[in-house]
């Protein structure tokens, strides 16, 4: 009877199963298989075991790409969090003209990455860019991103912050608005200064939202591709490559599908590790504040 019911249910579930199998499970398994083989155009795949992984992990270009990625993740995500938090608190404190400003703050999220990069390339153009002109007018050094790798990375970091700040901001702003006003009044009466209230009321209650925002942003930032590809293409001399650009180069510039597949799985594992860590943290926090 029970079996009967399951067999009857299968046709109804099949479309979803087929969809997941065809777009996630099968490609993933194929990439695993590919990562264990040496493969390129015009030659049949030969099994090489974990050689691809060893090759990728010992490739100085990969290690530099990984280093760049980690730098961007650490620099961009945390600065973005600090900015997003500051702005969320500013908005929640009853900023005048909030509606208009909200639109302005959220606008970058509606801008396509390609357009954003084109805009930034123009704004920061070393010769004619208005921002470059303003920086030199203020007597500040210009951002020589087309030539100096560290400047290029800073530029990429700033661009990714600009693009994704609305995401972090909106999560934190919503969480801040969910904290009842009464708590702040109670804290004032208890003798809390605004800083005490921030430290003892706002921060603990924003904790879960901060963890969620960080988790998503770590994973997104770890996969960073278009900002880098469109801005520098990983150059000069592969010095600004990130892991996703390295993968792209392996697969489509050097046609080394095996190492590209291995890189992809290294990225997946790194993201999973991050996610597991944060989900664990989040659970602990939620259990701590059990409602």
């Amino acid at each position: 009877m029970r079996l009967n019911k399951i067999t009857e249910a299968i046709p109804f579930l099949a479309p979803v199963q087929i969809l997941i199998l065809s777009v996630i499970v099968i490609p993933s398994l194929y990439v695993i298989w590919l990562s264990l083989n040496a493969s390129s155009f015009g030659q049949s795949a030969t099994f090489v075991g974990l050689d691809n992984y060893i090759q990728v992990l010992s490739d100085p270009a990969f290690l530099r790409a990984l280093g760049n990625t980690v730098m961007i993740v650490i620099f961009a995500v945390h600065l973005e969090l600090a900015l997003g938090l500051g702005m969320a608190l500013l908005f929640a404190s009853g900023l005048p003209g909030r509606r208009v400003l909200l639109v302005a703050v959220l606008a970058p999220y509606a801008v396509s990455e390609v357009i954003a990069v084109a805009m930034w390339r123009f704004l920061f153009d070393p010769d004619v860019g208005p921002v470059t002109a303003m920086l030199s007018w203020l007597g500040l050094p210009m951002l020589d991103w087309s030539f100096e790798p560290s400047h290029a990375l800073i530029m990429i970091g700033l661009l990714t912050i600009w693009l994704h700040l609305p995401f972090t901001f909106i999560i934190l702003y919503a969480a801040r608005l969910a904290i009842p006003k009464d708590l702040y009044e109670a804290a004032r009466i208890d003798g809390a200064t605004p800083f005490d209230a921030f430290k003892k009321v706002t921060m603990p209650l924003l904790g879960p939202a901060i963890v969620v925002a960080l988790l998503f942003r770590y994973i997104f930032a770890f996969r960073i591709f278009s900002e880098v590809w469109l801005m520098t293409q990983g150059g000069p001399a592969r010095s600004t490559e990130v892991v996703a650009v390295y993968l792209y180069q392996e697969a489509f510039s050097y046609n080394a599908f095996g190492t590209a597949a291995a890189t992809a799985w290294i990225m997946v594992l790194a993201s999973l590790l991050l996610a597991t860590g944060y989900v664990f943290l989040l659970r602990k926090q939620v259990a701590g504040n059990a409602h």
Binding site: A186, A187, A192, D196, K200, L205, G288, N289
Partner: protein
């Protein structure tokens, strides 16, 4: 403990005047209740005392100190909110000790004070719990505990019982009265519930439209309301108001009459012969039966009979089509559509403009 003095206190939100000049003296250790309908400004007045709303005009003294521009923490007050406003991420213990930990009270003293407050409120067993693990009544206790721990000069309560169910409200009301006796502290309590006001207060302040209508002890307000608003607001069921004509005035007594009621002599304030007035009679002062010489009498068709067990509420329509409600302590033989007649002592009636 502290006394409180409000002199010409005003509050405006933009062009809207919410509190239009309140004068009030609260003695040390007194339990004062602000009561009034929604929007009368009672909560705003309390929040001005707490320092959560700025004072637009007038002077506020707490314990002899001018407090207009002091931060809430400098006013030596504690407040219990309607929503309890407990910090959800802290245990009961930390919630209660929060104020003391902020002003760097030594740990041993903090611990002693939190445990003492928990003992007074009989909630020692709840100290390690989070607010989410407590019932409404327990949360309210924690909120009160948080106030007690700080040993404030004045306790402020903003409708603290409104979120509790009826049975729990009665219990908490008794506990608050007991707490006031035990602590002997000055307490200011805001409510829209006149039963809470009557049972808890040493002194009731009736507010309407941002102005104090009357200040007095519960029974003073009940027996001698100064105007129609106070008369109608205090007491349940509401006082009956019947339009009458003043026929003659002798000293502080006036003879009044209406179409449905023969002339009676009642106390009057500032009326002259020929004036229109409202005769206020509490439903409890209407007795069934025919009026004797000099007594007032009202009769009419019964439109409603509510038997509450301890009393019966009867509503009648008089021949002049006025609705009159009487509360009689006995289960009278009455039926809808019949007629009933009530009498009252003129001394229990009030005359209002």
């Amino acid at each position: 403990m502290a006394s409180l003095s409000l002199a010409g206190l005003k509050k405006s939100f933009g062009a809207v005047d919410v509190i239009k000049g309140v004068d009030l003296e609260v003695k040390d250790g007194e339990f004062v209740v602000f009561v009034g309908p929604s929007g009368c400004g009672k909560s705003t007045l309390l929040r001005m005392i707490a320092g959560l709303e700025e004072i637009s005009g007038g002077e506020l003294h707490i314990g002899g100190r001018l407090c207009n521009d002091l931060e809430p923490r400098e006013r030596e007050i504690a407040m219990v909110f309607q929503s309890y406003a407990l910090y959800p991420h802290m245990t009961v213990y930390d919630n209660m000790g929060f104020g003391l930990s902020l002003n760097k009270t030594p740990k041993t003293e903090l611990d002693a004070r939190v445990r003492e407050a928990a003992r007074i409120l009989k909630m020692e067993h709840l100290l390690e719990r989070k607010p989410s693990q407590l019932s409404g009544g327990q949360r309210q206790r924690v909120a009160i505990g948080r106030a007690i721990v700080r040993k404030p000069g004045v306790f402020l309560f903003d409708e603290p019982l409104s979120n509790l169910d009826a049975a729990l409200r009665v219990d908490m009301r008794m506990e608050l009265a007991k707490l006031h006796r035990e602590l002997g502290a000055t307490m200011i309590y805001v409510t829209h519930d006149q039963i809470e006001a009557m049972t808890l207060a040493d002194k009731i302040v009736v507010l309407d439209g941002g102005l104090v209508q009357q200040v007095g002890s519960p029974m003073e307000l009940y027996k001698n309301p100064v105007n129609k608003f106070v008369a109608g607001f205090i007491g349940a069921p509401k006082m009956n108001f019947l339009p009458v004509k003043v026929q003659s005035v002798q000293g502080d007594m006036a003879s009044v009459a209406s179409e449905a009621m023969g002339p009676i002599l009642v106390r009057s304030r500032g009326f002259k012969s020929g004036d229109s007035a409202l005769l206020g009679i509490r439903p409890q002062y209407l007795k069934p039966g025919k009026a004797a010489e000099g007594e007032g009498s009202i009769g009419g068709k019964i439109v409603l009979v509510e038997r509450l067990g301890t009393e019966t509420i009867i509503a009648i329509d008089t021949p002049a089509n006025e609705r009159v409600v009487a509360s009689v302590p006995v289960d009278m033989e009455l039926s809808f559509g019949g007629t009933a007649e009530f009498q009252f002592a003129p001394a229990s009636a009030h005359l209002f403009h």
